[in-house]
Symmetry: C2
């Protein structure tokens, strides 16, 4: 049995505060409306609102109109109540954004890191964070890295594009910054963004497939980001889809990534970059068109199998690879349809979300915000960030 937090008055308050805060995210709402939406009684909502007002997390805005009665006072998150910083680490760059509590980007910064040396990366990140922060109240930092990540411990177990092994990234950054830091797989940052602020909002079961150099997968199952027993769930790119297929960097053969990752496409199309391959296909080169069609079919089958296993409500295709969506989508759809088991077709929705590097960083911020807004049902993870217990400086 996973440890379950014991029921207590504090737990109740935490749950209900989160409920109220959740409704306040992304909209102005009155106390009465909050009570209606959350199912709480009006006095309870009033008290919680009072507390949040006192903390400076939310504020009263203008009054709305009413149909013949006292006008409701609208409440909303205080724009400058605090900020969060999101970081996306790539091989060569640190991409950072400062966002408000609605994950809206306020400021951005990037820095180059030529090396994968841990110390250098940590220093660069810290410098970037400090310059973004300025004198502002920042609740914490979310970091997205490609690889197998132990989210609870903030450890990079196995970096995809680096030789990192068991690097305690969160601890190192927290020490340097004096801020709470959450580290997670980069695809999960996209998922967090989807779940909290994007197309996946309000959907309990979502799979986000990122296409690009590698093929990644992030999942929201039963309303929660799923990471697997050791934080290693989502190695979609390394599922084996053909027997005796091409060799993959991971050491295996027949990996999805080795078939339809950008390097593989370039190799087959005989181009140096993926852009060239796309151009070639768009100009009507038959062989290249066929390559993209096959890529679509391979991906469609793999995603179809994923649907058979998990029966999500929504599939989001994201990442740079979606630039070629027009080329591979027909094949993708076709293969998907013939792969997915009969009964699971009808309610399935597919969305293509064309995101850039900055969106990954924004997602990392969303990851931290998710942590901030969600009640903590597990036993106390030490130092877990909170909006109400102002630990941030």
């Amino acid at each position: 049995m996973q440890p379950v937090r014991v029921g207590s008055k504090e737990l109740i308050r935490e749950i209900n505060s989160s409920l109220v805060l959740g409704e306040l995210r992304g909209g102005l709402v009155s106390r009465t409306e909050l009570a209606r939406r959350t199912g709480l009684s009006l006095p309870t909502v009033s008290e919680i609102v009072g507390e949040l007002l006192g903390n400076g997390v939310i504020e009263e805005r203008e009054t709305a109109s009413s149909g013949g009665g006292r006008r409701p006072v609208l409440l909303g998150l205080k724009a400058d109540a605090g900020y969060v910083i999101g970081i996306k680490l790539t091989e060569t760059r640190v991409i950072a954004v400062l966002t408000d509590l609605n994950a809206g980007i306020v400021e951005r910064a990037t820095a180059e890191v030529a090396t994968s040396d841990v110390g250098t990366v940590v220093r660069t990140v810290a410098k970037t964070v400090r310059s973004l922060k300025g004198g502002r109240l920042v609740y914490g930092v979310g970091v997205g890295v490609a690889g197998v990540i132990d989210r609870a411990g903030g450890v990079v177990r196995h970096g995809t594009y680096s030789d990192w092994h068991d690097v305690e990234l969160a601890a190192l950054l927290e020490k340097k910054l004096g801020l709470p830091v959450v580290v997670d797989n980069d695809v999960n940052t996209l998922v967090a963004n989807e779940q909290w602020f994007g197309a996946g909002r309000g959907v309990s079961d979502v799979a986000v497939v990122s296409i690009g150099r590698g093929i990644g997968l992030g999942m929201v199952l039963d309303g929660r980001l799923y990471r697997g027993a050791g934080g290693g769930a989502g190695e979609f790119g390394h599922t084996k889809v053909v027997a005796d297929g091409p060799l993959c960097d991971c050491g295996g053969s027949g990996c999805l990534e080795a078939l339809i990752g950008e390097p593989a496409i370039c190799a087959r199309a005989g181009t140096a970059t993926i852009e060239e391959a796309i151009d070639k296909a768009r100009q009507g080169d038959e062989t290249t068109v066929k390559i993209f069609d096959q890529v679509g079919r391979t991906l469609g089958t793999a995603v179809g199998n994923l649907v058979n296993l998990l029966n999500p409500k929504l599939i989001v295709l994201a990442g740079e690879g979606t630039r070629a969506a027009d080329l591979f989508l027909p094949g993708f759809d076709d293969a998907l349809r013939s792969t997915v088991f009969d009964g699971l077709q009808r309610d399935l929705e597919i969305v293509v979300d064309d995101w850039d590097d900055e969106a990954w960083a924004q997602g990392a911020a969303g990851l931290f915000l998710g942590e901030l807004f969600q009640p903590n049902l597990r036993p106390d993870e030490a130092g877990r960030p909170s909006l109400t217990a102002r630990s941030a400086s």
Copy 2:
């Protein structure tokens, strides 16, 4: 956002009662020890225990020895506090067991049903349940059926071995029996049993693969049975593992089930039954031995991909097909090892659990018990069964 239940005093009590009951399942424990294990204070535990004693759910047993102090009064589930009935529906038979609150089998019964006519099946099940029940206090019934099941609504959306579509099985049975009924996919009954009473106890992330005529999959993710958005998760048997593979009953081609389900093995081995094929292989027939080896490899690759996606801690192989485990396990292991991504190997555990039909029925009982013992964190699903609010007759 999935609806989250609002925090209240009742929620606290429910959580903590479940905590206490959970510790009491499968062992005698004193009040003090309960307090220590749950993290609750002694007075709270005492009060909850008092309530449960009053309800007749638990009882005081003998006192244990102590090292120089008052002896602890051991508490345990009352053996005859109530019962649960588990049903496994197959094409031709209704297999039923009556279990106590620890899922221990007290009595059993089976009945033949030649037809798949809903009315006839429901009548036969009802008759079987009534004969098993006798005059006893039965909290409810759990039913396992192969197919896509909407667990929340108790609806069989799509039967695997029947032409059932959108059959409201739970409602029909509840009406006939006057007892709460839970319906779920049959593999999930195995999972429930594993999770609550078997090898998967205490493990948060488990995949149970059932092998036999079909290939099924049940999952515990993050400590909870995962069913997918529409209850259709786990169609492992219908994932496509080879391009242009053999046709499957489902209409697709290349399904795992069409490759390594028992009918497929028989066809390839040229035998009428799977037993014959097993015998043939055990007697050293090379072709047949090779067939089983290939079956193992195919399964191993598929399960390996599953591990890449979900990173479970434990894989349980179950079902009649495990009779041939000696024949296919070497190939299975080999393929699994070469499929699973590097970092995910180390903590993975594989267990073969040789279960018979009765175990499926026992699992169905466990399914209902799980419902009974787990606190309800979602908004009130009407008529959800409970141990403390004695709705059973």
